[in-house]
Assembly symmetry: C2
Homo-oligomer: 209 residues x 2
């Protein structure tokens, strides 16, 4: 039904409901939605164990992983520069290619994983950042994600720190800075449905320009 | 014509066209628009020389101003805590009161001057941040604002630094971080008119909730 190809990337604070916004947006437009599912595709396409992708998902390179001895066979067919890379960086490259491939095919929604940066040259890109008030995020983390109240704040801070380091390590800008996104939204002010509606309106304006 | 009172605050990168967005938005909704004009009101209401407000406009406290001996008569009627404040802080308080007063009256658009932070408890507040690609901002600075090409980049960087320090000094958050705003927009992607249209749509969603 879409005359105009658009790739939505959704970066989001933990607990902001950004994933829900992306999922509802994709459903409402009838286009594919990708989040952790990208990992399955990346694992399948690369032949690398899915659990390895999960263990470094949205985490930047660090000394632990840098020091890890990698099974040389996995990367044996690649260049020597590539072989000497930390494993997170290799998985990042594999996942980047998966992201570029799904984006090349058709309109879609991609959550997290630096997709806004990876797809920065894509003309149909709409880079969204979703955030919210701390009290609303904690409420969602506890009541919707089922995290015990005592752990919610710590998990929220830690998850955003990880996302931020991952982004700041691989992308050019700083995670959460407005200038990296075409549209940044506050779900505490708009609600999930309001956010979806506004993003759809953004798409219409962009497609009718 | 507006059934629902809304105060739009527009923070903006220099050259992004944020002021134009605010002005067009105000015109289109038939509501007052405030930017530097707030200074005239502040000067008139406080009896302080307008040039003094201009000289510290969107600049944080600094040692130069801190060291300045202020005419004691100006602040004579105020508390001693207030009297010992740096002059920028006093002017900030005076201007904050002007901003609160104009916002209390009716729907309006206010550009810059930490209005998003000053009005943070206002229920009808919509905090907007406007940014753009460097090349587009430079083009606007040179061709629309008439700044010589050789000075454009320096002025852009310096102006944003000033705005950022002013905001970071007086507000709680960091200028330009998505989480401080309800809506952050990229005029390079949307254009001025597209930005105005999206902000109006935001208002409709908020008012119909």
């Amino acid at each position: 039904m879409m005359e105009c190809k658009v790739i939505f990337t959704i970066a989001r604070q933990f607990g902001s409901g950004g994933r829900d916004v992306g999922k509802k947006l994709a459903e409402s437009l009838g286009i594919p939605f990708y989040d952790k599912s990208l990992i399955q595709i990346a694992a399948k396409e690369s032949g690398i164990e899915e659990s390895l992708f999960h263990s470094v998902d949205e985490e930047p390179s660090n000394s632990f992983w840098d020091a890890l001895t990698i099974n040389a066979n996995i990367f044996g067919s690649l260049t020597s520069t590539y072989s000497s890379m930390p494993i997170n960086d290799k998985l990042f490259i594999i996942q980047s290619n998966v992201i570029k491939n799904v984006a090349a095919k058709e309109s879609c929604v991609i959550v997290g994983r630096c997709a806004d940066y990876i797809l920065r040259d894509e003309p149909g890109l709409i880079r969204v950042f979703v955030h919210g008030k701390e009290e609303d995020k904690l409420h969602r983390i506890i009541h919707q994600y089922g995290v015990p109240e005592a752990d919610a704040k710590g998990l929220m801070v830690k998850t955003d720190k990880k996302r931020s380091s991952y982004y700041n390590y691989y992308a050019d800008g700083k995670w959460g800075r407005a200038e990296n996104y075409d549209l940044a939204l506050n779900t505490s002010a708009l609600g999930i449905d309001g956010a979806v509606e506004l993003i759809k309106r953004y798409r219409e304006i962009k497609c009718n320009k």
